[in-house]
C-alpha cells in the first residue's frame, strides 16, 4: 500500500490526518476501516489530501462515505487541502468537497 498517513491530535479531541500517495481501489479498503475507527474515537477529523498523487472513483466514494458517517455520528469531517488529481475527480462529478 503506497499510502502514508500522518496522524496528529489537535485540540478538543479532534484528529488531523495528512495523507500522501495513492487513494485507489488498492488502498481504500483498509483506509476505510482505519478512518472509520478513528472517526468513532474522536470528536472530529480534518484531513489534508494535498499529497494524494493517485486517486480514482473509489477514493472519491470513500470521502463521500466518511462525510455521511460523520454526519450520522454527529462529528465533523473536513478536507483541508486537496491534490489536483482529487480536485479533478470532484470537479467532474460536480461534488463539493
Amino acid at each position: 500500500m503506497k499510502l502514508k498517513i500522518v496522524r496528529k491530535k489537535t485540540e478538543n479531541n479532534s484528529l488531523h490526518f495528512t495523507l500522501a500517495g495513492e487513494m485507489t481501489v488498492y488502498s481504500v479498503g483498509k483506509l476505510k476501516d482505519f478512518l472509520l475507527n478513528e472517526l468513532k474515537s474522536c470528536s472530529g477529523i480534518t484531513i489534508d489530501l494535498a499529497e494524494i498523487d493517485e486517486a480514482d472513483t473509489s477514493g472519491f466514494q470513500l470521502l463521500l462515505f466518511l462525510k455521511r458517517e460523520a454526519a450520522i455520528l454527529g462529528k465533523s469531517f473536513r478536507i483541508t487541502e486537496m491534490s489536483s488529481r482529487l480536485r479533478n475527480i470532484f470537479n467532474l462529478y460536480k461534488e463539493i468537497a
Binding site: 479498503g29 483506509l31 473509489s58 466514494q61 462515505f65 458517517e69 462529478y93
Partner: protein, 731 residues
Amino acid sequence: MADKNSEKNFKNVYFTESRELLDAMEMSLLSLEKDSQDEDSINSIFRAAHTIKGNSGMFGFGRIGDFTHVLENVLVGARSGTIAVKAELIGLLLECHDFIQVLLDHYESEENRPLDQESEALFERLITRLNKYIPDSKNIKKLKEKVIEEIGEVAPSFSDDHGLRVANDCWHISLRFGKNVFKDGLDPYSFVSYLGEKGEIVNIRSIYENMPYGEEMKGDFCYLGFEIDFRSSINKKEIEDVFDFVINDCDIRILPPNTSIADYVKLIEDLPEKPMKIGDMLREIGSLTESELKQALELQAEFSMTTEKAPEELLVGNILVEENMIQKYILEAALTKQENVKKREESNRKLIRIDAEKLDHLINLIGELVITGSNVKQISESDDKIGIAKAVTDMSKLIEEIRDSTMGIRMVPIGETFSRFERVVRDLSREKGKRIDFNVVGGETELDKTLIDKLSDPLIHLIRNSVDHGIGTPDERVKAGKPANGTLTLNAYHETGSIVIEVSDDGNGLDADAILSKAVELGLAKPDQTFTDYELYQFIFHPGFSTAKEVSNISGRGVGMDVVKKNIESLRGNVFLESERGQGTTVRIHLPLTLAIIDGFMVRIADSYYVLALDMVTECTEVRKEELDSKEGGNYINLRGDVLPFMRMREFFKETGGEPEKPKVVVVEYSRKKIGLVVDDLIGEFQTVIKPMGKIFSKLQWLSGSTILGTGEVAYILDVPKLIKNAKELE
C-alpha cells in the same frame, strides 16, 4: 395538496387521443381491406396499437397493454409478410379494434374495477385467435424492434400539445455501477470524463443511497450511481457506446431530450432508490422542473398502486369467498353503468381539439381589439365626434369578427364523422349479403361540434335503413337492371342559412302502397283516402311505423324515424324525405349553422319586436295595403312576376288594428320554399344571442326563443321554418 386536476387531464387527453388513434386504425383497416398490400395502412395500424399500448402503461391500464401487445405481434408479422393479410385477419383486427374501444370505455368509467366476465372472456377469445397467427414467438421480439426502428419510435404523442413533455432539452442519463466495477479495474471517472468529451455535462449528481453504513460498507465495492444531464448532438447509440466497456457492470438508462413525463415516471419507477430521493435529484440537476416532478411523482404513486393491486385482482373468481365479490362487482357495475355513461359523455364534452390556426387568428383579433379599445378610450376624452364614431365602428366590426371566429372554433369538418360510417356500412352490408359502395361528398363542410356529436345516432339510423331496406341484394339489383353494387352517399352542403346533410341510396325507394296499407292498419288513414307522396312519407315519422315485412336486428322494429325526426328537431333542424319507387331514397336533414348566436333581422309587429334569422331573409319589399286586401280567396302577391304567398303577421298574432298604410314584406326562404311575412316596420340587422324559452312557453310553436334588446326590452325569435311549413299547409 396534489393537483388532482392535472392527473385527470392526462387521462382525458389519453382517452381522447386513444380514440382518435382507434379511428385512424379503423380507417386504415378498411383501406387495407381494399388493398392488402398497402404498407402505409399496416404501418399506421401498428403505430396506433403501439402508441395506445405505450400510453396505457403510464396509467396502469394493464388489460389494454396486454391486449395491444399481442395485437402488435400479429401486426409485426403482417408487416414483415410472415402473416398473410386476408379478409379473415382484417375481420379479426376490426374486432380487436372494437374491443380496445370497449377497454377504453371500461377504464374511463371504472378504472379500478376488473373487467366484467363477458369482456374478460372476449379478451381471452381474441387473444387466442390472435396468437394463432403468430407462428414463432421467438422471432417476434426482434422483428418488432426492427419495425419500431423503421417506422420510428412513437413516443406517447399526446404529450405534445398538452405540456406533458418536459421542458429540459438535455439527455438524461442514469448510471448505476455494479459492485465489482472497481475490482475489475474499471474507473467510472474515465467513462464520465469521456462522456464529457462528447458533449457538455450540464449537471451531474452522485447517488449513493444504497451504500451501506458503518462496518457494512466495503471500501473497494462500488455503490455509486450518477444522474447526469447531458447536452450533445450525438444520438442514443453513441451515448451507449461511451459505456461500452462497462456495459455488463453498469445499469444505463438514457432518456432523450424533451421526452415525456411518462418516461421519467418509468425511470423513477425503475431505479432502485426511493422515488422521492430520485425525484429531488432530478429536480436539483434540472432534468425536471418543480411542477413536472410533482406530476411525475403523482403518476408514479398511482402507477405503483395499480401494479400492486394486480395480484388481488387475479384472485377474483377463484373460490367461494371471491364469488361474492363477483356478485358485488356485477351488481355495482349494473348500478353504476348508467352513471358512468353519463360521466363519460360529460368528459367527452370537456375536451375539444382546436385547429391551431383558428386559435391564432382569434388571438390576433383579440390583440387588435385591445388596441382599438384603448384607441376608443383615448379619442372619447377628446371632442372629436367623427373620430369616436369611426373608432366605435372599428371596434364593433372587430367584435363581430371575434364572434364569428369564436363560433368557428367549434366548427369541425363533418368528413371525419362521415368516414366513421364506412365501417357501419361495411359490417351491415356483409351481414345482409349486399354489396354497397359508400361515398362521401362535401366532407369539408364545417358544422358545430355539438351538432355533429348529436347527429351521429340519427345518421347511423338512416344508414341502417338504407342498407337494410333500401338497397337490395346483388341478385335483386341485377334483376332490376341496376349495377350489382349499391351506392350509399352521404352529402353535406350549405344552403340558405342552413347546412344540409343528405343520406341517399339508389335502392328500392319507398313503397307507397305498403306505407298506405300500414297507415290504414294503424288507423292513421282510411283506405279510400288519397294522399300526395309528401303526405304519405310523413307517416313514416309516426311512432311505431315500419313497413319492413320482417323485423331484423338492424332495423324494422318500427322505432326509428320518429326518433330521428325528434332528434333533428331538437337541434332546430328538419327532416325531409324524397323517394322514387325503384330509384332510391334521399333523406335530407336541414340544420341551423350554429346553435347559440345568430345574425338576426329585426322587425316590428304592433308593439312587439321580432327577430328572424338573417340567413333566411332573402329580400324586403314594400306594398300598398290595398294590394294585400284586394286579393280574394288567397294570400298571394306578385313579386316580380312570381307568385308569393304571404302571411299577415298582425292577423296571425291576433294583434288589434290593421296594418299601416305601407306595410313591409319580408321574404323568407327555407328549404327551397319562400313566403312573405307582412310586418309593420323593418328595424334592421341585429346580432342576437338566442335564449331558449322557458318550459311553460313550450307550446308557443311559432317562437324559437327570445333575446334581450339593448333597451332591455324582449324580442321574440320567429321560427321561420315552422311558419313556412304552416303557410304551405294552409295553401
